[in-house]
Amino acid sequence: MASIKVFGHATTTSTRRVLLTLHEKNLDYELVNVELKDGEHKKEPFLSRNPFGQVPAFEDGDLKLFESRAITQYIAHRYEDQGTNLLPADSKNIAQYATMSIGMEVEAHQFDPAASKLAWEQLFKHIYGLTTDQAVVAEQEAKLAKVLDVYEARLKEFKYLAGETFTLTDLHHIPVIQYLLGTPTKKLFTERPRVNEWVAEITKRPASQKILQ
């Protein structure tokens, strides 16, 4: 039986962030479904795993974690020698590591807030019978466009966001980008040549394909 368990829902971007990492590392795991529509994530026993009532929660033996970006970092370090290396090429080089950290902070604080709101407005709201607020879409697309302009300039210098190799920084973006490619927001990615290439690269990875199944 797998010592790694993920408590989450395979459709959510945060659960997918963790599943992607596990696939990149070829790690066995068990996905324990948390039924969001029944509010299972807001009740015990899930709250004992994540008191903030959000998926995913994670277990590796007796280590219990939550917050998807903390989980992915744990996996990347703990299983550094397995599967894809998700840390910089020289993981002991503090300056290189700092560059990856900057990228992870940018994803969490600059990219994801706008991108998640766009996915919510244009996709997830429909599941709950709510209507898209086009004013919010316009506002958030303007914010996302500014971030992507910075990414375009960055990707002209480097193949990936943190340097020449694929790292957690790129990985953290994949789940929400996959959703946005199914919305009109896709144009923000396709109209920026380097960003468009980068999106194609990261979404065609076998692990990225696996989480869509």
């Binding site: 903030f52 744990y74 700092a98 900057i102």
Partner: protein, 215 residues
């Protein structure tokens, strides 16, 4: 001359976060003011330091960094042997718990708490008025976070483990501002949270950051 330069202003919470880490590590640095009123952070040469146009940026020799929480992590790693230890000592598992609480501050606490600070304090500085309805809604969210902190701090002396780490430090700037407003009641009414706030704000390194504001 200090090899470390911080481009920012003492009033900014993100700049304060970095200054706190530098003082905890007893590192020499030069604080280079950025003229926010003139929009210097949105133009060159600052944009070459941080293309997102936000303070602070840090230079250490020929390394340039931005995003305050990436900078503090760098300071903790690069200068791990100097001053205070800012990470839980131990193996991958212990470090992982620190990452959990670092993410909690960044994803759960800060989005709400910094909006309250903006409403109650910074809006006034820019000639705008506080929206009491917004404050009430935000405080309703913050109390749910602080209830979780209360439970956590009943089991652990600091957020990540029994020692002070960056997970605690990252909260200092916004807590400092909120404790000067009516929102302080939310912290003071929870015994463990109250004790934790007193401990972290009493640290000598933090007092130096607050002093810089007075200059």
């Amino acid at each position: 001359m200090a090899s470390i330069k911080v481009h920012g202003v003492p009033m900014s919470t993100a700049t304060m976060r970095v200054l706190a880490a530098l003082y905890e590590k007893e590192l020499e640095f030069e604080l280079i003011p950025v003229d926010m009123r003139a929009g210097a952070h949105k133009q060159e040469p600052f944009l070459s330091l941080n293309p997102f146009g936000q303070i602070p940026a840090l230079q250490d020799g020929d390394l340039t960094l931005f995003e305050s929480r990436a900078i503090t992590e760098y300071i903790g790693d690069e200068y791990s042997e100097k001053g205070e230890k800012l990470m839980c000592p131990g193996c991958n598992k212990v470090k992982a718990l620190t990452k959990v609480w670092l993410n909690v501050e960044g994803q759960q606490f800060d989005p709400i708490a910094s909006k309250i600070a903006f409403e109650r304090i910074f809006k006034g500085m820019f000639g705008m008025t506080t929206d009491p309805a917004a404050v009430q809604e935000l405080e309703g969210k913050l109390v749910r976070v602080l209830d979780i902190y209360e439970a956590r701090l009943s089991k652990s002396e600091f957020l990540a483990c029994d020692c002070f780490t960056l997970a605690d430090l990252h909260h200092l700037p916004v807590i400092h501002y909120l404790m000067g407003t009516d929102s302080k009641a939310l912290f003071e009414s929870r015994p463990k949270v109250c004790e934790w706030v007193k401990k972290i704000t009493a640290r000598p390194a933090w007092a130096k950051v607050v002093d810089l504001q007075k200059q």
